[in-house]
Each structure stands twice: as C-alpha cells, then as structure tokens.
Symmetry: C2
C-alpha cells in the first residue's frame, strides 16, 4: 500500500448546498479512514448495549480521539447529529458504513484450525462488521474434514478453487511462522489482495497486496511507555 498520494482532505471541493449528506470524496485520508473505522467499532458495541444516542464526548472517551475532531470528521460528510442531543447510534453506523464503502458482505478465508483459528472463527468481531468466515484451511491432514463451528476444515491444496468459488477478499493467517509465507504466496497467486497476518513472520508480497500484521505486543509497548512516563 503506497501512502504518498492519499492526502486530499475530506470534504474539499464540495459544491452542493442545502443537503444533509455531502458527497463522499474520492478517497479519505489515511487518518480519517482509520478514525471512522474506530468510531464504527465503538458504535457497534454501543448498539449491542442498547444505546440509542451517543455524544461526541462519549465517543471521545472510548476512542481516545478528541471530541472536536470527532465532530469535525463527521461534519465533513453531513449533519448527522442533533444539537443538545448527540448522534443517533443506528444512523451513524450506516452513515459511516456508507462513507467507508463497507456496507456489504465480504468473505474471509481463515488459515489454521488451532486455538487462534478457532477463537477467530467463533468470535463475532468480524461478523459485526460484515465480514464472514466462509472457509477454514489447515495443513494437518488429520484436521481436514473436522468441523469448526458450522464449517469443515479444508485442504490447503484447494485454496485457489475456494478463493474463486467463494469470492474471498481477505485471507487471515493464524498459522505458525514456518507456514505463513507459503500460504501468503498461494493467496497472492489466487488473487487475494488483503492478508491479515497473525503469525510471527515478515511476509513478502507484491506492492498491490496489503498485509496487515497483528501486533498486540506493539500496542502493549506503546501503552506501557505512556504508563511509565
């Protein structure tokens, strides 16, 4: 993923007047996109807890993002809030989904049927955001054919076929380091453009493919630093 050319400020160049949803600009800046995704996470949880309305101040306390910035981020796309009241949780969720263009369903292939793989498959973190785990693979022949939730573990040899048949957009690697690069190569060959890496290895992929490496320890280091100082 190149980072150099995504900087058009959101909302720039709008020419319409009295609507309450501005046209979504071509491309959000990296920061805005990241924050919107973050708001969405909190909103989704808030919705589960039955909250109907949320203020920028509340969103701020859960996201660590300044409340002015939250209002600014949102007001760039329309007037979603009610003064004196806050934002409607449901409404805001669908607005942000629209802005992030992730209102649809996206299919995930999961690699590794160990503890981590099973944890991911049974969790609804992904499901809440429109991602569905539609296939699980494991290199261990003994695991192939066994069930994980409603899915049967598949043989990794069938990856290209399954990617095509199931319209898979994201590959999630919950496998040992030793297996990760080979699987990444297969995913790339099969046309998958987004790889989520939970393994310890550094993946080498072509520039058009995005690898996101999970980094709980990095996040911890970061939190610890601000705790220690």
């Amino acid at each position: 993923m190149s980072v150099g050319d995504l900087t058009k400020p959101h909302g720039a160049g709008d020419t319409n007047g009295a609507d309450d949803t501005e046209p979504v600009p071509d491309r959000l800046s990296l920061g805005v996109a990241a924050r919107l995704a973050r708001y969405l996470q909190v909103l989704t949880k808030a919705k589960k807890e039955g909250k109907e309305t949320i203020s920028s101040q509340e969103l701020s306390s859960f996201t660590q993002v300044n409340s002015t910035q939250i209002r600014r981020d949102l007001s760039g796309f329309g007037k979603f809030g009610k003064r004196g009241v806050g934002y409607n949780v449901d409404g805001l969720v669908s607005q942000i989904r629209k802005i992030l263009r992730t209102a649809g369903q996206h299919n995930i292939a999961l690699f590794g049927a160990g503890h981590l793989g099973r944890a991911i498959a049974s969790s609804d973190v992904f499901a809440d955001h429109g991602f569905r785990v539609v296939a699980i693979f494991d290199a261990d022949p003994e695991k192939v054919g066994t069930s994980v939730g409603a899915l049967q573990v598949r043989d990794v040899a069938t990856v290209p076929q399954v990617v095509e048949d199931e319209d898979i957009v994201v590959g999630v690697l919950a496998v040992p380091s030793s297996a990760a690069q080979t699987l990444a190569d297969q995913l790339v060959l099969s046309g998958v453009k987004i790889i989520f890496n939970y393994s310890e290895s550094l993946l080498r992929v072509p520039p058009e493919v995005t690898v996101h490496t999970s980094s709980p320890a990095v996040d911890l280091l970061y939190a610890l630093y601000f705790y220690l100082t």
Copy 2:
C-alpha cells in the same frame, strides 16, 4: 489516557554535541512512540530470520512508514546507522528498547482459558517484547487447577493477591463480553493500570487506567477501504 499534552517534539531542546546518543526527551509524541514500537516489531522478526543489517527502505516496506520518516525518527536519538550499509538489527533493537524504556521484564495476567486465552499463552508475541504471562484466570470452576502450558489456571477470586505477589502490570481480557467489565473493575481495584481488552464490551475505567481494545475488524475495514478505492 489524555492526548492533549504530549506533543513535545522529540529531540527538541538538546544541548549536547558530539555524542552518538542524544538524551531521550521527557516524553515522546504519540506518533513517534507508536512508530518506534512498530519498528521494533519488524526488527524482532528480522532478527529471528537471521538478518544482521536493515535499511530504512526495507523497514519502510514492512511498516508502510516512509523511509525518510524512519531515518528522521531514529536520527532524533542518535546516529544509529552506517551510510551505505543500513542499521545493525541488534543494535537498533536495544536502542529502541532504551528509548521506549521497555528494556525490562513486565508481567501479564491473562483472563480466560478458552481458545483465545490458550492461543495467547502459547504464542511468543508477548515474550519477544519482554512481556511474560505469569498467571491465567478463569471463571469456570472446572477449569481452575488445570494446566495451560506451564501455568495452572487460577480462581478469579485470587486476583488482588496475585496482582500484588506477581507484580502484574498488565491485564489481558480474553473472556466473553458479559465477564469483561467485572474483571476490569477488579483489575482496577487491584491497581493494574493497563488493560488489554479482547472482548466485545466497552469497558468503563477511571481516567488513569489505559484500555486498549483489540480491533482486527477495524483494521480490516480500513485495509478494505483502500483496496476498494
């Protein structure tokens, strides 16, 4: 964690001249700290793969951070690289650890002995960065006393005692949403200041406590957005 007052630029106010390590400023800016932690993650993996030297360009390709910025981030603290060669991996790891003040060992208590808990306990993501899981808890009486790796699952009633005895700095919640807030409350009462939340719930904690919520789906949404546009 308040975000408003951490903005002193790194390296500002230095008065020394001809050393190769500048004094570490009082507090890194949020961005620099986050990036340094990120570099550390890649360096740690590179080290495992036997790499002795790494260039800012290589670091850039694995971190998505511009190579100029990497050089700039590092040169703020000293001249760690060799022109024409790059950075020594080992050396850079210890320099960054020193800058982040996380060179020591820090103890973690893990909550939840399900799939996710076991995956975390058996992984070395944390161990690689000096974090050690020293206690595992579970609310299920049937699991208490069973083994997870070298550790025995403990009763959650013993949390305050264990936090004190084992000098626990971080609590990691790998439990269902329904249990998360209660455990967070207990951790706060026991004096733990950093909570890592893998559950689906929004945790309410006092301002001096930092909650980091894991958000793979948020990261995916973000990646997907830039893939779709």
